[in-house]
């Protein structure tokens, strides 16, 4: 099977504190996944679970402590030292579109700069054509965008502008880090539908990083649920989200508010007191909040177990194919 991007055993350790009280925090712990060409792959999990760290490493902003990243059959180690986004067809968009652009700068200048840096056009006329063509992909046009400052766009529009900026260089992989969490729920669909269309028409691979499982289910084929640096469950969305196996995935799935007043939350949940505490935990990181916790969970970290085509890191499935008690 052809793979667009493969991440193998990626580990990133941050050290914090002074020399005397050094704390080692494993932000990404043995993370492995792959993305096929023209596929939308979701990396989901709560804030501070290592999603963004993983994205930064793929984009080359951070060096991994260990592990390999293979993009289009090329090992990242070979392009080391060069600018990843210039050497490879990877582009990124971020959570806050108003933070992406300088508020005192006209947005179209970013586009002309990109055209210049990547030598996409020889003259200004040509550059405008290239920019207009890309803007049309996201449902905007050059006329309604030229000479405007970021504040003159709405949040949804500006996010589409930042997607157009990323598409200008014709990447084959788009890293979208929480692209819809700052956008109105009603406008979210326009961004997510855009990913779907780009995937179908342009064969664009997308790494969709989010905590919004509803849009993840809607848009992607495969999903990985991340918790405190570990991928705890990975598989097709239909299986992972419709019948979540890991207790953490179950909690995430239950916590999505449904637009139906008859389906209110009845169970109470326990929130983590601090992130650090969970990162420092020996064994399964979820043990402190898990309703099915056993002794072994607190001693040893669980390994991946294949249950019905889904990889799950949980002792509940050790040796059996039983489903956990609800």
């Amino acid at each position: 099977m052809e793979k667009l991007l493969e991440v193998k055993n990626l580990t990133k350790v941050f050290t914090m504190g002074s020399i005397l009280s050094r704390v080692r925090l494993t932000a990404a712990d043995d993370v492995s996944f792959y993305i096929k060409p023209g596929e939308i792959f979701t990396l989901a999990g709560e804030s501070g679970c290592g999603k963004t760290t993983t994205a930064k490493i793929i984009l080359g902003f951070e060096e991994p402590t260990s592990g390999t990243i293979i993009h289009e059959g090329k090992d990242r180690a070979e392009t080391k030292g060069k600018k990843v986004w210039q050497e490879e067809g990877i582009q990124a968009i971020f959570q806050d579109p108003f933070g992406t652009f300088n508020p005192l700068r006209v947005v179209d200048r970013y586009f002309f700069e990109t055209v210049q840096n990547f030598k996409l056009a020889a003259t200004k006329r040509e550059a405008i054509d290239v920019i207009d063509e890309t803007l049309r992909l996201v449902g905007l046009s050059y006329e309604e965008f030229a000479g405007k400052y970021p504040s003159e766009f709405s949040g949804g529009q500006l996010q589409r502008v930042s997607i157009a900026r990323a598409l200008l260089t014709k990447p084959n992989l788009l890293i979208a880090d929480e692209p819809v969490s700052m956008v109105d729920a009603s406008l979210r669909m326009s961004i997510v539908n855009l990913f779907k269309r780009l995937k179908e028409e342009g064969n664009l691979g997308v790494l969709y990083i989010t905590h919004d499982l509803a849009t993840a289910y809607y848009v992607s084929e495969r999903i990985a649920i991340m918790f405190r640096g570990n991928i705890v469950e990975i598989g097709p969305v239909e299986k992972v989200l419709m019948e979540p196996k890991h207790p953490y995935s179950q909690l995430l799935r239950e916590s999505i508010p449904e637009a139906d007043p008859t389906k209110r939350w009845s169970k109470r949940i326990v929130l983590a007191e601090t992130e650090e505490e969970e990162y420092m935990r020996v064994g399964c990181k979820f043990a402190g909040r898990c309703p099915h916790v056993m002794n072994i969970c607190k001693e040893q970290a669980p390994k991946d177990i294949d249950v019905d085509g889904v990889l799950v890191k949980c002792y509940l499935y050790n040796g059996t194919s039983a489903t956990p008690r609800q």
């Binding site: 709560e46 949040g155 009603s186 669909m189 289910y217 637009a259 007043p261 929130l271 601090t274």
Partner: protein, 334 residues
């Protein structure tokens, strides 16, 4: 039926801006009549830029230039007596706040003073509203309050940056509930939080409401959160309430096309069919479309929609809607 605790009458608050000699008027809240009752969670929903936050500012009596109260009244019912807020002196307003009404603004997780510990923030709040307490007593009160709401008391000894966003959000909500106010106004308290923490924040709001039996006015664009917590929901569009009813009716039998769009645009599990967001974008509040402000985006727009603004009419008990499709003299159902 519960008694009224807060009422507005034809409320109009506009931002009046002077841009290089030309006056621009942003009609952020345009003729809003609300009747909020005791012991209920009232949700206000709508897209960004429809005037939700401005309405809350007006309700909290925090109208400051360039925002101006153009017309209408805001009444607080303090001990059963109606008080016209606009006539109060700043000192009287300050006294009402935190004790009678508490406001949790948007992005309130960044509202805490970053250079002092949380217990000092609590002390500031307590000492400015309750007199005659020693330092030890105030800290004790804060600790007791935090524990009651299920937050770890050790956070009082930390600085805001040491806590996660969700924890800070819960601390500010707890702070707002400190003096047991009759009304808590929360502006987008769960936006930009992930789903599990969001559920924790909603859980905290519900706990407070159950304990104090007070009123919560909750603004959020997330229709899922509204469905989970609100007793009644008002849908706001371009500075007006276009539909208002009990949560069951808003989600069960929505009447306004805009409400239908808001609910239908949410993706559902087990259904991968293509969903559309509301077409177009919200109108500019400086230059509103004629007639019904929603007509340029409405699939059912008729001739009358471009000419006259529909009134908010009562369909049956507790269900009000402003749309020419429903009720009105030219009415026909969609």
């Amino acid at each position: 039926m519960n008694e009224t605790i807060l009422r507005t009458e034809g409320l109009k608050t506009f931002y009046i801006l002077d841009v290089f000699g030309t006056q621009k008027i942003v009609k952020a809240v345009n003729d809003v009549n609300l009747n909020i009752r005791t012991n209920e969670v009232y949700g206000i929903a709508g897209e960004s830029g429809c005037g939700k936050t401005t309405l809350l500012k007006a309700l909290a009596a925090a109208i400051e230039p360039p925002l101006r109260l153009v017309d209408g009244y805001i009444f607080y019912y303090v001990d059963g007596k109606a008080v016209d807020v606009a006539t109060l002196s700043p000192e009287a307003k300050r006294k009402l706040r935190l004790d009678y009404i508490a406001y949790v603004p948007q992005g309130s997780m960044s509202a805490l003073n970053p250079v002092i510990k949380l217990k000092e923030t609590y002390q500031d709040f307590i000492s400015s509203h309750v007199s005659g307490k020693t330092k030890e007593e105030t800290i004790q009160l804060a600790e007791q309050h935090i524990t009651e709401l299920g937050l770890p008391p050790k956070i009082l000894d930390s600085y805001p940056h040491q806590l996660s966003g969700g924890m800070r959000q819960r601390v500010t909500i707890a702070l707002a509930a400190l003096l047991k106010p009759s009304i808590i106004i929360a502006d987008e308290p769960t936006t930009a939080l992930d789903v599990v923490v969001q559920r924790g924040v909603v859980q905290l709001l519900m706990d407070i409401q159950k304990r104090l039996k007070n009123t919560i006015i909750l603004v959020t664009h997330d229709m899922g959160v509204q469905a989970n917590i609100a007793d009644r929901v008002g849908i706001m569009y371009a500075g007006k309430i276009v539909e208002e009813s009990t949560t069951e009716k808003i989600y069960g039998v929505p009447q306004h096309p805009y409400t239908k769009f808001l609910i239908d645009s949410l993706p559902q599990f087990g259904d991968k069919s293509t969903r559309q967001s509301v077409p177009g974008s919200p109108p500019s509040l400086i230059d509103l479309p004629s007639g019904c402000a929603f007509h340029p985006r409405c699939p059912h727009a008729m001739g009358i929609c471009t000419e006259q603004t529909p009134d908010l009419i009562t369909l049956d008990t507790d269900h009000k809607v402003a749309c020419w499709l429903v009720g009105g003299e030219h009415g026909k159902t969609a």
